[in-house]
Amino acid sequence: MQRVPQRRIHVIAIGCWLLMTSAAVRADSISCFNCHTNEMHQFSASAHAQAGLNCVDCHGGDPRIADETAHATDNFKRPDNKKAIAELCASCHGDVRRMNPYGLPTDQLDRYKTSKHGEQLFTHNDQKVAVCTDCHGVHDILKVKSPQARVYPTNIPQTCGRCHGDAKLMQEYKLPTDIITQYQSSYHAYMVFEKGDLSAPTCVTCHGSHGATPPGTAQVGQVCGKCHVRQRELFEKSPHAEVAAAGLFNECVSCHGNHGIQKASVELFAKTCVQCHANDPKQLQLRDELAGLIHRTQVDYTNADTVVHDATVRGLATDDEQLLLQEAKTQVTQLEAMQHLLAADQLRPVATRFDEIVKLTLADVADLERIERWKRHALAPIWAFLALMAILFWAKRRQLEQGRKP
């Protein structure tokens, strides 16, 4: 065999070496993971890994070097304060062209700067507030849509709760310490966690996410009104609207509370009006009338429903009555919303209509019962006839027997 020329061997060797080192730059074999195994596990399932990013894209450094000197490059970034973290994330997530293919928004940092968290951080350099990584995670960031993501609706209370549920931390800022537990006892939390309705509010629904701010007194109605449209509409027409606009009254929150909000019921009337109107008999009278209307119609509806249901189970023809009941229910539900108007003269006609419908329903059922009773009365002639026939049979038999006797 002819000896291969020396130069050719060197070319081949260098070529192989280049190939190997370029392979070493591939994400799954970069040198970072030789030491940073924890981060490797966290990162491998993340959204950033799925997008084809690796350590170098955020941290810089030299992925070919397999020891600490990999950190020694000029481009190495290790954000050691939260402002730097925010700016690092924003370096990609604020870049419109880069975010376009992913359809992601790019105003997070701007919004963040308007938030209480952002204010504290950028104005006062408060390192204890939340920044991108506190809510989204560091290496294990997942898409918001993913149920394991820290910012998925069912995980939001826990994520916010890491700070806002920490009593010691909250006391430093003079913030309430029991918000998370309050929320967890609320009807909104029940909707999210037990009924699985993800459109129900979590912290970010009302407070916003990046621009998180507690809604000011003037804005509460707008926040609640995003979903509770009709109630807000009616409230704006009520005497309370002016009071709220003047800043004396915290719209929805004054009566319903905020974090620990429970399902609205007639009992609220007893507890909330007296907060301001304790010595105002005229308003208390109005309260009594409104509460009375609602409570009475609710009770009457339940009773009528039971009557119709019992009749249906017995097998009476209650199609019409069921239809009427649905109409009645419509009136009751309307009343419950309309009480925000605080105008008894507007509610009274609705209640009257309700009463008419219920009266008609119960009268119809009573008619059905009358027919049933008629059946019982029909038993008398039936028995009379049967008794007559029995006597006739018996008499005929006696007659035959007497005829047989010699």
Binding site: C227, L323, L392, K396
Partner: protein, 145 residues
């Protein structure tokens, strides 16, 4: 007792018995005939309910009908008749028609549905279920379920 009296008593008893038995037979048969006579034009499997004559509907006019005890709203659009369950998918109030907005509206919490039954504003989470409508011989027939 002589023969004549005995015979007439026997005949009288026989007449009574015959009459009673006949009455009895009628009392058995009459309800049966009444039972099998169709109680309504269509039996338990109610397929369609009439919403009246098509001529009675102007464009964008609506009417409420009941199918198996449930309210249904029928609308005439320029493209034809549509019918939807009139029970709001939010909290079950009976919806109505907002002529100005040309939307199905729920009076309880201002939920609005478009002409395809889809919620466009307010709290309703799901669309209204639709019922098929056909115009047969000028009559508007709404199909159940």
């Amino acid at each position: 007792m002589n023969e004549e009296q005995r015979i007439s008593r026997r005949t009288f008893l026989d007449w009574l018995l015959a009459g009673g038995l006949l009455t009895w037979a009628v009392a058995f048969v009459a309800p049966v005939i009444s039972y099998v006579w169709p109680a309504q034009r269509r039996g338990p499997s109610i397929q369609t309910v009439s919403a009246g004559k098509a001529d009675e509907f102007a464009d964008w006019q609506t009417k409420m009908v009941a199918i198996a005890g449930q309210p249904v709203i029928v609308v005439r659009t320029p493209q034809g008749f549509r019918a939807f369950s009139a029970i709001c998918t939010h909290l079950g109030c009976i919806v109505g028609w907002d002529a100005a907005r040309r939307l199905i509206a729920c009076p309880c919490h201002a939920g609005f549905f478009d002409i395809n039954g889809r919620p466009v504003a307010g709290p309703p989470p799901r669309p209204l279920s639709e019922h098929a409508v056909a115009v047969v011989n000028g009559e508007v027939l709404v199909k159940s379920a």
